[in-house]
């Protein structure tokens, strides 16, 4: 799988905000997103992060 480049990162966070930006735990979701992308880039298990964030990472990683 390719690593996230700048365009992928910008698109990912734009979609994350549009989907989950109103959530009370938005700050935690952003932290999960950064951790998930790092693990995805390292090609290791994405780990115990919010499932909606994980699904979005997988979607963008394959785009």
């Amino acid at each position: 799988m390719p690593q996230f480049d700048k365009l992928m990162i910008d698109n990912f966070f734009a979609e994350l905000r549009s989907q989950l930006g109103d959530e009370d735990n938005w700050d935690d979701l952003v932290k999960d997103a950064h951790l998930g992308i790092a693990r995805s880039d390292a090609d290791v298990d994405i780990g115990d992060i919010d499932s909606r964030v994980a699904a979005l990472i997988k979607k963008h990683q394959g785009s």
């Binding site: 690593q3 990162i9 938005w26 700050d27 950064h34």
Partner: protein, 430 residues
């Protein structure tokens, strides 16, 4: 999988104002084990403090602070912060003179009460150790009260904004964090007085001392390659302040989180610093083994790019937390995020985006900025004009010397501290 040398259970007092019940355990690989806290030669620290005492940046780099206020790309934001922050800094400056409101309960240890109150007020971390006067700034020695204990406090700065460094929103968040912790620091001091003890608030914006050694001694983190304290839960994403007191308290102990050695391997901040201001190797400096930043290459960037902080943004411990970073290193031998756009990329407003392996280039003039004590700088400017043939014999030269004399008189009669100079005007003495 690397062999684990020891584990560290991160206490709730270091995990934010409302920590979860889930344990946070750091697995430190054997190869990253060094010493609790930081390698230190006590005699050398003492020698330097006696014969070459530390001094506040606001004093020894008076002219830089004045210059940086003028060239800042976020000048309006910074000016507004200084306006809002001034009364908070002033209150801290007077806090050591306020007497306790009651008699203390004899023999009652108030450590837990103070720590609980600090978290209740919104501090992200609190630890307690001895106040080490060897780190008191020369110009603050008469200000610091002889209270023996240091309550080390950290306020988390917002996560999302921090990842946009260098930017106005990120620095606005830093300013807001400083004001918030300044205010609640004053409240915590009031609380300590209500227990019957004295409390002096050392403002994070008008620092009295180098506080980092005390935070390390209190087990709140270890020094990172970029010169910040790196804590296990927040990395460098916090702002530090201290309250000294004579309350009856227990001390925390320094911890080896593996950070001292990890930074020698990671090096992301060293690789990504736009000013090339960070060193790859640790050196012995004033009695401690640490990474010494080259301030002359750091400050010119800080002044012009929203106080920079790229070294904070690209630190994997800041971005992901120490636990996942150490777990990843232990299982793969790799630094989580290293070499990726997500961790290492940054935008600089007028020169564009820089991904992994890419750095901006600045010409040598970019790094020539005003620096030093105010009187030294006035003399250096006069010398430069003489060298340039700009001070001829006769009336024109006399005029230059008269300007120099007037400027020197202004400097000698004014405050030696740039912050106090800013805060002082005719109607409003600092």
């Amino acid at each position: 999988m690397l062999k684990i040398g020891h584990t560290v259970k991160v206490p709730k007092t270091l995990r934010g104002p409302a920590p979860s019940d889930e344990e946070e355990v750091i697995q430190v690989p054997e190869e990253l084990e060094r010493v609790p806290g930081i390698p230190m030669q006590q005699d050398t620290v003492t020698f330097y403090s006696r014969h070459y005492p530390v001094e506040s940046h606001n004093v020894e780099n008076f002219v830089y602070r004045k210059w940086s206020r003028q060239v800042s790309d976020i000048k309006e934001t910074r000016d507004e912060h200084e306006r809002l922050n001034k009364p908070i800094v002033r209150a801290a400056a007077e806090s050591g003179n306020i007497e306790p409101t009651v008699e203390p309960t004899p023999g009652k240890d108030v450590t837990d009460e103070i720590k609980a109150k600090a978290l209740e007020l919104g501090f992200a971390m609190v630890g307690i150790t001895a106040y080490d006067s060897r780190y008191t700034y020369k110009s603050k020695r008469n200000w610091v009260k002889p209270f023996p204990h240091a309550i080390c406090l950290a306020m988390e700065q917002p996560y999302e904004e921090t990842q946009t460094i260098p930017s106005e929103p990120a620095e606005s968040a830093v300013f807001a964090t400083y004001r918030r912790e300044g205010k609640v620091g004053l409240e915590l001091a009031d609380y300590i007085r209500s227990l019957g003890y004295h409390a002096q608030v050392h403002s994070p914006n008008d620092a009295s001392s180098v506080v980092h050694p005390m935070f390390v001694q209190a087990g709140m983190g270890q020094m990172g390659a970029m010169g910040y304290l790196l804590s296990p839960h927040f990395g460098s994403r916090h702002r530090l302040m201290m309250i000294t007191t004579d309350a009856l308290v227990d001390y925390d102990e320094p911890v080896d989180y593996g950070i001292h050695a990890f930074c020698t391997i990671c090096q992301v901040c060293v690789n990504r610093c736009p000013g090339r201001a960070l060193m790859r190797e640790q050196v012995w400096w004033r009695g401690v083994e640490k990474f010494k930043i080259i301030a002359k290459r750091c400050r010119p960037v800080m002044a012009r790019y929203a106080a920079c902080g790229i070294c904070m943004k690209v630190c994997p411990i800041q971005r992901y937390g120490l636990q996942p970073v150490m777990d990843h290193y232990a299982s793969t031998g790799q630094v989580l995020g290293k070499g990726t756009h997500n961790l290492e990329g940054y935008d600089m407003h007028d020169i564009g985006y820089f991904g992994p392996g890419e750095l901006p280039r600045f010409d040598s003039d970019f790094f020539h900025i005003p620096e030093g004590y105010a009187d030294q700088h006035a003399l250096e400017e006069l010398k430069a004009r003489i060298m340039a043939g700009d001070v001829p014999d006769g009336p024109e030269g006399d005029k230059v010397f008269a300007e120099f004399r007037a400027r020197l008189q202004e400097v000698v009669k004014g405050p030696v501290d740039a912050m106090q100079a800013e805060y002082q005007d005719d109607q409003d003495e600092f």
